[in-house]
Every structure is written in C-alpha cells, then in structure tokens.
C-alpha cells in the first residue's frame, strides 16, 4: 500500500493500527501458537502411570525423544508406517493429478470462454463450498451401495465390473478425495487464469501460432504459478484427511492413511506421545509446502497493495 504520508514506523498513529490488530493477534497466539507447543510438549513428554494419558513436559531441556525416535524408525520401515506414508502420498498425488486433469479445463473455460454466462458458472463452482463435505461424501455412499445407482448404471450399460465399491479399495478413496477437494483447486486456478495478461496470448495468435501452440507455449507456462498455488492449497488438507477413507471404506487396512494412525494413537491408546510425534512429523513434511504458499501469498498481498 502506498505510504503516501511517508510516515515512519512507530509513533502514535502506527500504534493505533497495532492496537486494532491486538485482539486477533492475542487470540491466535493463545489458541494457535500455544497449542502447537502443546503438541511438542506431549510428543516429548511422559504419560500418567495409572491412566496412561498424556503428561506433557514443557521445558525443552527435559524433553524425552525416545517415543519420537521409535516413531521415526517405524516411519522409515517400508513394512510399517513407511507404507502408510507412501500410500498417503500416492493417494494425494493421484487425487491431485485428477484434479488437474478435470479442473484445469473447467477453470480455463470459465475464465476465458464463458462469456455472458460466467456469473452462472462461477455460482455453480462456488456452490459445493456451501454443501457440507460430509454430505457430499454421504451422497457417494448412497450411490456406491451394492444396490445403488452406480452399480445399476453399470449393469444397465452392460459394462463389466459390478463391484462392491465400498469394500476398501483405493479407487473409492482417490475418487472420494478428488470429488471432495476439487472445488478448492478450481476456484484459485480460475482466479489465476482470469488474471492472465490476455495481451500476451493475443500477441501469440497475432504472430501466426495455432491455438494449440499458443496454449502450449504461452498460456500453460503463464498459468504455472496459479497451478502451483491451487495444488498446494488443495493438497495440504488432503494429507491430514482421515475421514474420507474412514467414511468410504470403513476400516480397511489397505487404504489406511496417516491421519487414521494419528487418530488411533491419540484417541484409542495409551501412547499419546506416538500420536503427537506423528503429527509433528506430518507437519514437518508439509512445512515446505506451507512456507511456499505463505511466501507466495504475502508477495501477492504486497503486489495488490501497490
């Protein structure tokens, strides 16, 4: 934002804006930052000897890393939690690929070719945000029942593979994740594509390139930052998902994701340190993505402000 008055930081005027931000900052400090520290305190803490519930240790000098070390060993073991991490990455990757495949054409169309109907399409794209995620999954559970419409249509079209979809196979989970998170992908991508400098694209056309060449050599490269941002914002929540597969496959070890293991250890066992350690490991893995998105967002904020 242009600092027209040329005011230096500090001083009465500046402090006023600081005070305005104070409630929000204090809130986030108390209920966002402290909880994260609590996770570490539990992960490196002890357990109550009788109840076997968490007994956090707040002083880093007294932290006990044995639970974390055990968990790291298991994560590195490809036959143990390592497999779960790999599977989670695979599912997220697969869902992201599907999101790109389906979402890019849709976002591109609405951004550039929708014409007067753009408002209508935008409303339709925004609509899933107002529908509860679990209701959308419930809708699929209804459809994928053994006597549900998906199997009926397959039978009617005489296609092979009438299937017990809810039986614990990865397609149900990957498709579920895609269906659930694709709105988070399409809207930011739309916003990015909509902001593309059209003159560059027209220049390509004016120079005689065919539409497909223009797309490949001008539009697509220009849309990469938007694609990356949309991918990150879609993928981050997917990594911690445990309810999509829990809902669609009801407890199949073959589709277990990291979120399920975190939930198991924190809700159903006497080893909260293991659960908390898993949370820390997951966060560490996602930190790169999170930092990337934060930096990009802050840069965008500054760009808009100037």
């Amino acid at each position: 934002m242009a600092n027209a008055a040329g005011a230096a930081p500090g001083g009465h005027r500046n402090a006023f804006w600081g005070f305005l931000s104070l409630p929000g900052v204090a809130w986030l400090a108390a209920l966002f930052v402290v909880p994260f520290y609590a996770v570490a305190a539990v992960a490196f803490g002890k357990i109550d000897p009788i109840l076997r519930t968490a007994d956090p240790v707040w002083n880093p000098a007294q932290w006990d890393f044995s639970a974390m070390n055990r968990v790291i060993d298991r994560v590195l073991d490809p036959n143990d939690l390592g497999k779960t991490f790999l599977r989670t990455f695979a599912y997220v990757g697969g869902a992201l690929a599907l999101c790109c495949l389906i979402g890019y054409p849709v976002a591109y169309f609405v951004a550039r070719h929708a014409g007067p109907k753009r408002g209508l399409f935008l409303a339709l794209l925004v609509l899933p945000f107002w529908i509860s995620y679990l209701m959308r999954m419930l809708a699929w559970v209804n459809l994928l029942q053994p006597d549900g419409y998906v199997n009926r249509i397959i039978g009617w079209l005489h296609l092979p593979g009438e299937h017990n979809w809810l039986n614990g196979d990865w397609p149900a989970v990957v498709l579920g994740l895609t269906y659930g998170y694709i709105p988070f992908f399409i809207l930011p991508l739309y916003a990015a594509l909509e902001r593309l400098d059209k003159r560059l694209i027209e220049a390509g056309r004016d120079l005689g390139a065919s539409p497909s060449r223009v797309f490949r050599h001008v539009t697509l490269p220009l849309s990469v930052p938007g694609l990356l941002a949309a991918s990150v914002i879609t993928v981050l929540p997917m990594f911690g998902d445990y309810y999509t597969n829990g809902f669609l496959t009801s407890g199949s070890p073959r589709t277990e994701m990291i979120g399920n293991q975190i939930e198991f250890y924190l809700r159903g066992t006497s080893q909260p340190q293991t659960g908390a350690s898993l949370v820390l490991i997951l966060s560490a893995m996602l930190l790169v993505l999170m930092a990337y998105y934060l930096v990009v967002t802050v840069r965008a904020q500054r760009a808009v402000a100037t």
């Binding site: 986030l28 966002f32 070719h113 753009r118 399409f121 995620y133 559970v141 209804n142 988070f184 949370v279």
Partner: protein, 288 residues
C-alpha cells in the same frame, strides 16, 4: 473479453465444464431426493414422503432427538462463531493493512498460518491444549466455539483486506481533512465501504463452521456437543435411515438461506457503491 475464434475448443471445454458441474452436483441432488423416500432404502428412490422429516414418530428428524440435537448444536455454533469472529477479524484486517513494522509482518504471517495448516494438526493441537493447559475451560460446546473462531479469523482477514486494498486510504483521508478523528473516519466512512466484504465474511465463517468436522470432533465431549457432520460420519456407514439425508438437507437449506440473505444484502450495498460480482467471488477464490 478476448476476441476468441469461436468453435471446437470452446465447445469441447464447455462440455467438460457442464459434465463437471453435473458430476459435482448431481450426487447431492440424488441424496436430497433419497431423503424424501417413504421407505428405508438409502440407495434407491422410493415414492416421495415427508416421513424422515417429521411424520415418522420415532426416527424422523423432528422426533428423533439424536438428530435434532446435532442440528441445534451446529446452528448455535455457527451463529456464535460468526458473531464473534467477524468483529475480531475486521479489526485485525484494518489494523494489519495499516500497521507498519516488523511486528506487523510477523502478525501477518501468524494470521496466514491457520490457512495452510491441515485440520488434523489443528484439531490435535487444540485437543491437547484444552486437556493439558487450559483445563478450566468447559469442554464441549465452549471449546468447540473457541476452536471454530480460531480457524475462522484468517478467512475474515483475507477477505476484508482484499477489499481494503481496493478501497485505498483516500476516503478516510478526505473525512479526516473534513475534521473527523480516526475512530470517526473508520466508523462512518470505512466500515460502510467494507459492508460487502463484511457480509461475505459472515457467510464464509458461517458455512465454514457448519461444515467443520475435524475440529468439532476432536473437541466434542459426547452427545451434547455432537454436530451434524459428526452425526453423518458416525451414522453414515452404520444402520442409518434416510433421516440422515433429511438432516443433511435441512442443514443445507439453512446454509443456502443464510448465503442467499447475505448475497441480497450485499447486492443492495453494492448497488449503492458500484462493483462487480466478480470482485467478491474473486476474493473468495483468493481465500480458498
């Protein structure tokens, strides 16, 4: 708008887009239709009836407390979250936009963090903090409310800041030149200008709170603090009846009504100020 050569590519893309919209919305429409089944089937259509909404004396949403209570809880939670979060968020947005210095940058970063944190991480962190640190906070509804506010603040800030950036400082400066002090300039000039953004925030926070599953689930203490998403999750694979679909549909109606109402108010405000639909939707796209 671009001077496009109309033709095949656009039509192919249009087809893909319409197919996507169908794929996106049709299952939900089917689920809503199933809620009107007269029998217990959750997979096929049966003749329409209000059975699961209010006529069945034991299992309809109207009569079954185990379905009504989550509905009450969800709505209470969403309403309170909305009312508390938006003022905090608007103040923070205005403050952050104008504040200078390192502390401001750090606060901005802090504000952005919840947007990128996976819900399970937040849920676990909040659960642990309320069971280990803030143990005197009454568990259940209160902790759920605090959790919902925590993850909603950032949405408000981002939406309002977007609008603030577009407005710029000139209106307030004009008001100050005419003799108003800072508070008056904010109250009488800036806030009305922010009207559409504030309403957009109310909508987004309401919808976000109603839809929340992970945080509510980790901070719940039992039947009295169960929300509709939690109910759907626990009953969805068990022996539920279409009453569950009815419950979900009722929630959807509430959400759409709230959104519709806010959209109407926003349109009225914007007609007096001038600005496109795209700006607001673009804001929301930028948030997501």
């Amino acid at each position: 708008m671009s001077r496009n050569r109309p033709g095949q590519p656009a039509r192919g893309l249009a087809l893909v887009t319409w197919l996507y919209v169908l794929w996106s919305l049709l299952p939900v429409l089917i689920a809503i239709r199933i809620s009107f089944n007269s029998g217990k089937s959750r997979s096929t259509f049966q003749s329409p009836s209000w059975r699961w909404y209010f006529t069945d004396p034991l299992q309809s949403v109207w009569h079954d407390d185990s379905l009504r209570q989550p509905l009450r809880n969800s709505l209470k939670l969403a309403a309170l979250t909305m009312l508390i979060t938006v003022p905090i968020g608007v103040a923070m947005a205005i403050g952050l936009q104008r504040w200078r210095g390192k502390l401001s940058k750090a606060s901005n970063g802090l504000m952005l963090f919840p947007l990128v944190t996976p819900e399970i991480v937040m849920g676990v962190a909040l659960f642990l903090v309320f069971t280990q640190v803030y143990t005197s906070v009454p568990r259940g509804f209160t902790t759920q409310l605090l959790g919902h506010i925590t993850f909603s603040i950032s949405y408000v800030v981002v939406i309002v800041r977007g609008r603030l950036a577009a407005i710029g400082p000139q209106y307030e400066e004009a008001a100050r030149d005419l003799g108003a002090n800072r508070m008056q300039a904010m109250r009488l000039v800036l806030l009305p200008l922010l009207g559409p953004a504030i309403f957009a925030s109310l909508m987004v926070v309401f919808a976000g709170s109603i839809d929340d599953f992970v945080i509510s689930s980790f901070l719940s203490t039992g039947a009295s603090s169960e929300t509709v998403p939690m109910k759907i999750y626990s009953s969805g694979r068990a022996t539920a009846t279409p009453a569950l679909n009815a419950l979900a549909t009722i929630m959807l109606v509430f959400t759409l009504a709230a959104v519709g109402l806010a959209a109407l108010v926003m349109r009225r405000m914007r007609m007096r100020q001038g600005g496109g639909d795209d700006v607001q939707l673009g804001n929301m796209a930028a948030v997501g």
